[in-house]
C-alpha cells in the first residue's frame, strides 16, 4: 500500500469526527426552524452541553452519563428560550443572542474547576473483520458510537419530518401557525417540543466535543461551531440530507486546515484557522444568491411571534 493511500483512512476518519458535532447541532436546529422558530442560541446551548457533559463524566466516570447530561443541559437551556419566546413572546433573534451570551458565561463558570483535567477517551467501535479492512476499515467501522448516532439521525429526522403525521403537523405549524391553530393543533406545545429537541441535539454536539473530539474542557471549546451549524441549515435549504453534505464539507475544511502544514505549505497557522469561518461565509453567499430557492424552502412562519389571542 502506498503512503498516500495509507493517509486516506485517517483523513476520512478525522473528517467524519469533525462533521459529527455540526451534524447534531444543525439537524436539531433544522427541526426547530421547520416548526417556525429561529433559535440563534445554538452556540450557547452547545457550550453548556459540553461543560455539563464533561463535569458529569468526570464525576461519575461514565461517558454515557456524560452524553445524557449534555443533552439534558442543552434541553434545559432551550427550555429557557422556549419560555421567553413562546410563552412571553420575546423577540426570537434577541433571545437567541441572549442565550449564547448567557451560555458562554455560564459554561465558563461551571467549568472553572475542570480546566486541564484529563478524561479517559471514549472507546472506539471494533467490529472484527470490517474494522480490519484496509484503507477505509478504521474510518467507516472504527469510530465512536456518537459518530454513528449522528449519521443515523439524518434519515431519522428526514423520516420523521416527511413520512409521519407528527412531522406533517410540525411542518404545518412552521408554514402557517394561524391556520394550524385554527385546525386545533397546539402550536405552542409543538414548537416547545421542537425547541427542546434542538437543545438536546446541541447539547449532544457540545458533549461530543468535550468528551470525545478534544477530549477536555476549555472555555469557548465550541469556537463558533454553533454558528456554523446555523449557517449549515441555510446551506441545506432546510433539507436533512443536505445537512449531511454540508457537515462533511465543513469537516473536510477543518481537517484540511490541520493537514496543509503537514504537507509543507508555509502559511501561518493563525491564518489557516480562519478557513472554516471564511468557508462558511462563502457557502452562505453561494446559497443565498438563489432567493427563489430560499423562499421556497424556508418555513413561512420562521421567526414570527405567535399569540393565539392576537
Amino acid at each position: 500500500m502506498s503512503a498516500e493511500l495509507a493517509l486516506i483512512g485517517p483523513i476520512l476518519a478525522a473528517m467524519l469526527a469533525a462533521a459529527t458535532p455540526l451534524l447534531f447541532a444543525a439537524l436539531g436546529e433544522l427541526v426547530v426552524e421547520k416548526s417556525g422558530v429561529l433559535n440563534l442560541g445554538v452556540e450557547g446551548m452547545m457550550l453548556v452541553g459540553a461543560v455539563c457533559g464533561f463535569a458529569v463524566a468526570v464525576q461519575t466516570g461514565s461517558s454515557t452519563l456524560g452524553f445524557v447530561a449534555g443533552a439534558a443541559a442543552g434541553a434545559g437551556m432551550a427550555a429557557l428560550f422556549g419560555v421567553l419566546t413562546l410563552l412571553l413572546l420575546a423577540n426570537q433573534v434577541a433571545t437567541g443572542l441572549a442565550l449564547t451570551l448567557f451560555g458562554v458565561g455560564l459554561s465558563a463558570l461551571i467549568g472553572q474547576g475542570f480546566v486541564g483535567i484529563p478524561i479517559a477517551d471514549v472507546p472506539e467501535l471494533y467490529i472484527p473483520g470490517l474494522t480490519d479492512l484496509p484503507v477505509i476499515g478504521k474510518a467507516l467501522f472504527g469510530q465512536d458510537a456518537l459518530v454513528y448516532l449522528a449519521l443515523a439521525a439524518v434519515p431519522a429526522v428526514h423520516w420523521f419530518l416527511y413520512a409521519t403525521r407528527k412531522g406533517l403537523i410540525l411542518r404545518a405549524v412552521g408554514e402557517n401557525h394561524a391556520a394550524a391553530h385554527a385546525l386545533g393543533y397546539k402550536v405552542i406545545r409543538i414548537r416547545f417540543l421542537a425547541v427542546l429537541f434542538g437543545g438536546a441535539m446541541s447539547g449532544m454536539a457540545g458533549a461530543f466535543l468535550s468528551l470525545d473530539y478534544t477530549p477536555m474542557w476549555a472555555e469557548g471549546i465550541s469556537s463558533g461551531r454553533g454558528w456554523i451549524a446555523l449557517a449549515l441549515v441555510v446551506f441545506a435549504t432546510w433539507k436533512p440530507g443536505r445537512v449531511l453534505l454540508g457537515a462533511w464539507l465543513f469537516g473536510g475544511v477543518t481537517i484540511a486546515q490541520l493537514h496543509v502544514q503537514g504537507l509543507g505549505i508555509d502559511i501561518p497557522s493563525q491564518l489557516l484557522s480562519m478557513l472554516p469561518y471564511l468557508a462558511t461565509v462563502v457557502v452562505l453567499v453561494v446559497i443565498s444568491r438563489d432567493v427563489a430557492r430560499i423562499r421556497l424552502n424556508a418555513p413561512a412562519s420562521l421567526g414570527k411571534v405567535f399569540h393565539p389571542d392576537a
Binding site: 434577541a94 458565561g105 446555523l230 484557522s273 444568491r289
Partner: protein
C-alpha cells in the same frame, strides 16, 4: 396558560417601556443574590463588592467611564441598525479591525510621529471598522446573505488576524517573542481628561456619538426612514425608501463607531497592541443596545450599568475570589429578564380563565 393569560393591550404601555429595564435590573439583582448564596458566598457582601464598592472612589468612577466608552460607542451603532432590522452581530470584529488599522499606524510611524498621528489613527480606526462591516453589507445587499451569520463569522476571522499580527508583524522586536507590540509613543496616545483616572478623549467621542445618534434618529429624514423600514418594511417599500441604502448606511456607521471604540482601547487604557484587546465589548454592546431601548440616551445609561458589571466582576474576583465568568452570567441574565418583562409593554397579565378577547395589538 389557562390560569395565567396574556391579554393584548389596545396600545403599547409607555410606562412599561421605562419600567421594564428597572424591573429587569431588580430581578437580576435578586437572582444574583440567590446565585451567590448557592455558591456559598455571603450574598450581601458579594453584591456590595460587585455593584457598590466600585462606585465609592474617583478611580472606580473613572474606570466606569473607561469601560462604558467602548460599550456606548458600539451600542449606538448597533441600535441604529437594529431599528432598521439590520442585525449586525459583528461589532467585536469591527472593534478588533479598528484597533488593527489605527494601532498599526502607531507602530508604522514609531519614532517619527507628530501632532498629526493621532487624528490619522482615529480616521484609520474608523475606516478599518467600517471596512469590516462593509463585507456583510455587500454580501447582504448583493447576495442576500444573512448579515447575522456573516458578521459573526468575521468576528472569528478578525480575532485570528489579530493573533497572526501579534505573533508576526506587530510584535515588539525587543519583546522576547512575547505577543505584544511596543508601547505607543506619546504622539499616538489619547490625552487624559481627568487627572488621577484613566478617562481619555474617547469618552468624549462616546458622548458625541450619543448626541449625534439622537439627532440622526429623532431629527432627520434618514432616521425616519430607518424607523419605518424596521417597523413595516412593506410600507417603506411603498413609500419608495431605499432599503439597500439603509443597510449600507447602518452597517458602515456601526462599523465605524466600533472601529473607533477599538482604536480608543489600544490608544487609550491599553497603550499598545496585544491579543486580548476586548473582553467581549462587541457582544456586550448588544445587551447595552437592548437595555437602552435602542435609544441613544438609554444606551448611555445602560452602558454605565454594563460597565459596572465588568468592573464589579474584577472587584469581586479580587475581594472575594469570585470567578470572573460570573460577569457574563449577570449580563446574560439581565438581557433575559429584560426580554421577558418586555411582554408587559404590549400585553396585560390576567389571571383566571379566558374572558372577552382583547383588541388586537397595534
Amino acid at each position: 396558560m389557562t390560569l395565567l393569560r396574556l391579554e393584548p393591550r389596545g396600545e403599547a404601555s409607555r410606562a412599561m417601556v421605562y419600567a421594564t429595564p428597572l424591573l429587569a435590573v431588580a430581578l437580576t439583582l435578586a437572582s444574583g443574590f440567590l446565585l451567590f448564596w448557592a455558591m456559598g458566598f455571603d450574598p450581601v457582601k458579594a453584591l456590595h463588592a460587585f455593584f457598590i464598592a466600585p462606585l465609592l472612589s474617583l478611580r472606580g468612577l473613572g474606570e466606569l467611564a473607561v469601560k462604558a466608552t467602548p460599550l456606548v460607542l458600539c451600542a449606538i451603532g448597533l441600535a441604529i441598525g437594529f431599528r432598521a432590522n439590520v442585525w449586525n452581530i459583528g461589532a467585536e470584529g469591527q472593534l478588533t479591525l479598528g484597533a488593527i488599522t489605527g494601532g498599526g499606524l502607531a507602530l508604522a510611524f514609531y519614532g517619527e510621529g507628530g501632532w498629526w498621528l493621532l487624528p490619522l489613527m482615529i480616521v484609520a480606526g474608523m475606516a478599518g471598522g467600517a471596512l469590516w462591516a462593509a463585507i456583510p453589507a455587500f454580501l447582504r445587499v448583493r447576495f442576500n446573505a444573512s448579515e447575522i451569520l456573516t458578521s459573526l463569522m468575521l468576528n472569528y476571522v478578525a480575532l485570528h488576524l489579530l493573533n497572526y499580527l501579534m505573533h508576526g508583524p506587530y510584535r515588539d522586536p525587543d519583546g522576547f517573542a512575547f505577543p505584544e507590540s511596543r508601547l505607543f509613543e506619546a504622539d499616538a496616545v489619547l490625552p487624559l481628561l481627568v487627572a488621577g483616572t484613566r478617562v481619555h478623549l474617547g469618552s468624549l467621542f462616546a458622548l458625541l456619538a450619543v448626541a449625534a445618534g439622537w439627532f440622526l434618529m429623532a431629527r432627520t429624514f434618514i432616521g425616519f426612514q430607518i424607523k419605518v423600514i424596521g417597523l413595516t418594511p412593506t410600507a417603506a417599500g411603498y413609500a419608495g425608501f431605499n432599503q439597500k441604502k439603509i443597510i449600507w448606511l447602518t452597517l458602515l456607521l456601526s462599523g465605524a463607531l466600533a472601529g473607533l471604540a477599538g482604536l480608543g482601547e489600544v490608544a487609550g487604557p491599553i497603550g499598545q497592541m496585544n491579543p486580548t484587546i476586548s473582553p467581549g465589548y462587541g457582544y456586550t454592546a448588544i445587551i447595552v443596545a437592548f437595555l437602552g431601548r435602542l435609544h441613544p440616551v438609554g444606551i448611555l445609561l445602560a452602558g454605565f450599568l454594563m460597565a459596572l458589571s465588568f468592573i464589579g466582576g474584577e472587584a469581586a474576583q479580587i475581594a472575594l475570589g469570585l470567578p470572573k465568568a460570573i460577569t457574563g452570567v449577570f449580563q446574560g441574565m439581565l438581557l433575559f429578564f429584560l426580554l421577558a418583562t418586555d411582554v408587559l409593554i404590549r400585553y396585560r397579565v390576567r389571571f383566571g380563565a379566558k374572558g372577552i378577547v382583547g383588541r388586537a395589538a397595534a
